[in-house]
Amino acid sequence: MKKECKDFSESKINQYIDGELDDEKRDLLEQHLSQCEYCRSYAEDLKNTLSFISIKHQPEVPRSVWNKIKEATAEKEPFFRLVPGMAFVSAVLILMIIAIYPSYISKKEYSNGISEYIESEISYLHEDTLINEWYLQEEEGEEINIDSYLIEEL
């Protein structure tokens, strides 16, 4: 097993492989690599790995990729661009009508209902006063005319 080097620097070896060291630093490192088995072995392993993975193979791009792009970026016809907008405006108008119409209807119906109710109560009470067997008790001998009394109250 190779003895680890106290001067080992992963960063420096990477920079060396990338060609980023200036002349002086490169020469120093190369001198070290010639004498240090650990660092030399590390540098060689790294170079071989990077050479291996940089195989210049260009896999063919499938046609389906371009088809998907075309489909997504196709310009819609002007009419079809308007349709979503028109549909939205129509929907809003319909909703507004639905919201307003019932309250309009019920208001009318409500006032009609009230009139009918009042009329029916009036006629009911009027009939009531005309029932012959219902008399108020005499006060001081007076017989009170119910018909006129109740109708006046109404």
Binding site: N14, Y42, E44, V65
Partner: protein, 182 residues
Amino acid sequence: MIQRDIIERAKEKDEEAMEEIYLEFKDFVWNIALKTAGSRTAAEDAAAETFIRVFKKIGKFNFKSSFKTWLYRVTVNTTLNCMDKERRRKTLHLNEEYRDIQAEGSAPQDDGRDNEMVNKMLDKLEPKERIFVYLRDIQGTAYNEIADIMKMNIGTVKTNIYRAREKLRKIYKEEFPNEERM
């Protein structure tokens, strides 16, 4: 290198200009997508999605950076997003994932033992690490450009790349233990 007038025409949704941009960058985008995606289907979606975004956002491109850098950035972001979505989908459909991998293999294309091995090695890295390695060691992109693409400083980029390389070095040694050394 893509000409400025092509970009200007692409901004106007000129189909020919868009196709020129696609032809110029399709190999790069496809390679990134293929090397980071979990399956060929996912790679196709990621690659297509990248260009769709490029053509959607091209109107905002203001020539402050190079078009190539900008497109590379969109590629990286889109691919990583697609990877996240794919990973979430696959955690819910583990059986599908298994079938996907079995059918596609970790090597989406079946040509050459070496390419298969390269893909197998890259598969053992995290998606972001694969992108770093692809940009630097396969595509040969300069560090400062990678820093621009990934929106990181150069020091961080280098640290990430050195770390990914170290992982690959160990994987390579495991795969080729009898490799002759000088």
